[in-house]
């Protein structure tokens, strides 16, 4: 009876969370959840198992963006192909660039692979560099801090709560980083092949070396000539595996694997990209266990 009463008291709090925030990708939603617990209701715009570059700008998403108190984006032009039309349609000043409700996480990260020249002959490149930065676990700490500060600015009343949750998250995460470092210790320096270089930051964190990608250039589908070249390169350089994302077809990867004998390993890039990836910890647990 007593328990029921407490539950009844808590119920309205969790249903009518104080503020509503839209985030572009599931991993951002997960960090917000860690720091806000039930103080913020988050709405994730993109699906975790789809290509983060190609999100369908469904008009139903406009309705979500129209009513939120804030938006948190990955930035680095990852959302450029789908988010701007949604934001423009919504006409919500709370999420306008420059307002306290707008947070572009990429502003807190130094990018890898910043191109020295911009030419579409080099494929679909991001002018700011590689935007898939959240796959370095150390970057998650930077993002968590930025999100904590953002939430405090937006909702000063719950400052204490956010600080406490942030501190416990940092403690948990630092412990996890040590665990993952240990797991990846013997992988240092191994060579790998990818479909698209979306593991750049993960590879950088654990000193894995990408020797080639299945797509000849960013955003350009595989060609038979490039595939043959890659097979020869694999035979010469003997990488350990093909690390493959969940959203491109593995057809070419499997063909290359059959010609070279190296395994194809699916690497989730975000929460919900595979059924078993339910949160941030399970994402990195999976990634750091995937390479055998």
């Amino acid at each position: 009876m007593h328990k029921f009463f407490v539950l009844l008291l808590l119920l309205p709090l969790s249903i009518f969370a104080d503020i509503k925030i839209a985030v572009t990708y599931p991993y951002i939603g997960a960090i917000v959840k860690e720091i806000s617990k039930d103080k913020v209701s988050t709405y994730v715009l993109a699906k975790g198992n789809w290509d983060p570059h190609f999100v369908v700008p469904r008009p139903s998403l406009i309705a979500k963006v129209r009513r939120v108190d804030g938006i948190i984006i990955n930035g680095g032009e990852l959302e450029i192909g789908w988010l701007p039309p949604l934001i423009k349609r919504a006409s919500n000043s709370k999420i306008a660039k420059g307002s306290i409700g707008y947070l572009d996480l990429s502003r807190y990260i130094d990018f890898l692979d910043k191109p020295t020249k911009l030419d579409r002959a080099d494929g679909d490149i991001h002018p700011d560099g590689n935007p898939h930065y959240h796959l370095d676990p150390k970057n998650i700490l930077i993002l968590a801090k930025a999100i904590k500060n953002y939430l405090i600015a937006l909702d000063l009343d719950n400052k204490k709560e956010y600080e406490t949750n942030y501190t416990s998250f940092v403690n948990l995460w630092n412990g996890k980083i040590k665990e993952w470092d240990k797991k990846m210790e013997d992988k240092k320096g191994i060579k790998i092949v990818q479909y698209h270089n979306n593991l750049a930051y993960f590879n950088n964190a654990y000193s894995l070396k990408t020797i080639g990608t299945i797509e000849p250039l960013p955003g350009i589908p595989p060609s038979s000539r490039h595939t043959m070249e890659l097979i020869n390169k694999i035979k010469a350089q003997k990488p350990s595996a093909i690390l493959h994302d969940v959203y491109h077809s593995t057809k070419t990867a499997k063909f290359i694997a059959s010609k070279t004998g190296i395994p194809v390993i699916i690497m989730p890039h975000d929460i919900e990209s595979l059924d078993e990836i339910e949160d941030l910890v399970s994402l990195f647990d999976y990634l750091t266990s995937a390479i055998k």
Binding site: P57, P59, K88, S91, R107, R120, Y247
Partner: protein
């Protein structure tokens, strides 16, 4: 790497500020250059009707002189894919940028071999809040679904027949002002109203007509005063929601204005002055199998009601007569697109006019057109498309119904920075 992390971490401590490392803070005027893109559309056309015969074809009771290169008064322009053989449909220059924190501006300049047209040039508010948005300048009306989109984002090389027949090759493309409101509802709900000048030569015009036609040595005056000010009003309401993984967008549209249609240069010289109303229903359903492959169903139904008078010669060509004319016409298209991957797509389209009543007399209402296309993209910026049309809606004065078969191979290529397209 450690050093990078450290600098970032330090910078992040300065809470509330964007952290741009010192070496990145630079002032460069080139940063203020707007997004610039150039979109080229070229095609090769093979048609069973000769070029000079195409311009004589009409949609009976609905429109004539639609296809091929044609002139209307002082304007001379050609429709897309006008000639057998090679066509340069356009090279479209698109500029867009923020003006200040309150507005953004877009310009679309349609370069063709005949000259340059300002297809669009408008300013849109970005800071009105409460779901409100205002736009002014020259722009494509948000009437229906397809009207607002540019040629390069259409799924076929030509407009649906009902659009061509009722509104001409450019749809409702007008000078004026637009207000839109997105409601704070769980599902998408948007309402808009547009006050427009009314320059459409096919349906919503208001310009002066003054033309002398010489018959056997006698001059006859076709004359009507232009209307000062704007005469076209458009309103619509649209809603969107998801059913499972299927995104649905649907809406109702309404346009009301005057018609001043000048066909005094035609063989059978006439002009048509009327009060006109256009009603539209649109529905788009898109199901995505994954990030790249999808199935899309799209349909629009347009109904128009034109009430006015036609000025023309009497049967023995001795005087002008002005009988009243009431047109009640409706047409629709339905199309399905299947894209198995990021690079390939294919589609079918069926066009029809199913009502064609003039002065309570039913005219030809079996006008139909069938289209099929397949397209290949080497990237987001280059698309090659093969399309076949069978048009069973056209007729010629003496010959009657003419079935037109057209094969169009088109290339649509863009360079530069081009803003993302909406749904």
């Amino acid at each position: 790497m450690k050093k990078i992390l450290l600098t970032t971490a330090c910078a992040v401590m300065a809470f509330g500020m964007d952290t741009i490392p010192v070496e990145k803070r630079e002032f460069s005027a080139s940063k203020f250059v707007p997004d610039i893109s150039l979109v080229l559309d070229a095609s090769y056309v093979d048609r069973n009707v000769k070029d000079h015969e195409v311009s004589n074809l009409e949609l009976e009771g609905i429109a004539h002189g639609l296809y091929g290169s044609h002139s209307h008064g002082e304007h001379a322009h050609s429709s897309y894919n006008a000639s057998n053989g090679f066509n340069l449909n356009y090279a479209e220059l698109v500029l867009s940028s923020s003006v200040d924190p309150f507005f953004e501006m877009n310009g679309v300049f349609h370069y063709s071999e005949e000259g340059v047209e300002i297809e669009e040039a408008y300013v849109t508010s970005t800071a009105l809040d409460y779901g409100l948005r205002a736009r002014l300048g020259k722009f494509n009306s948000n009437f229906g679904y397809l009207n607002e989109q540019h040629h390069h984002s259409w799924d076929f090389n030509d407009m649906p027949l009902v659009y061509e027949g009722f509104l001409g090759m450019h749809g409702i493309n007008e000078k004026g002002i637009q207000f839109q409101y997105t409601a704070p509802t769980d599902f998408y709900l948007m309402a808009g109203v547009e006050i427009l000048q009314g320059d459409n030569e096919q349906m919503f015009g208001n310009s002066e007509i003054h033309s002398e036609v010489d018959v056997n040595g006698t001059d006859f005056d076709f004359e009507t005063e232009g209307e000062d000010g704007s005469t076209l009003t458009v309103a619509y309401v649209k809603t969107a929601f998801d059913i499972g993984e299927t995104a649905i967008l649907t809406g109702l549209s309404y346009a009301s204005g005057t018609s001043h249609i000048d066909h005094t240069d035609d063989e059978e010289a006439h002009m048509f002055i009327a009060d006109s109303k256009l009603y539209g229903f649109d529905l788009v359903a898109k199901y995505n199998f994954d990030s790249y492959s999808f199935f899309k169903l799209q349909t629009e139904v347009l109904y128009r009601d034109m009430d006015g008078t036609v000025t023309k010669f009497n049967d023995d060509q001795t005087a002008l007569v002005t009988p009243s004319v009431k047109k009640e016409q409706a047409g629709a298209y339905i199309q399905a697109i299947y894209a198995p991957s990021k690079t390939w797509a294919m589609g079918l389209r069926y066009d029809t006019f199913f009502k064609n009543t003039i002065n309570d007399v039913d005219g030809a209402d079996d006008l139909a057109k069938y289209s099929v296309m397949t397209e290949y993209k080497t990237s987001e910026f280059a698309r090659f498309r093969l399309q076949y049309n069978r048009n069973e809606a056209l007729s010629e004065d003496e010959e009657g119904r003419v079935d037109m078969n057209t094969i169009i191979f088109s290339a649509n290529i863009s360079i530069g920075a081009h803003g993302a397209h909406a749904f």
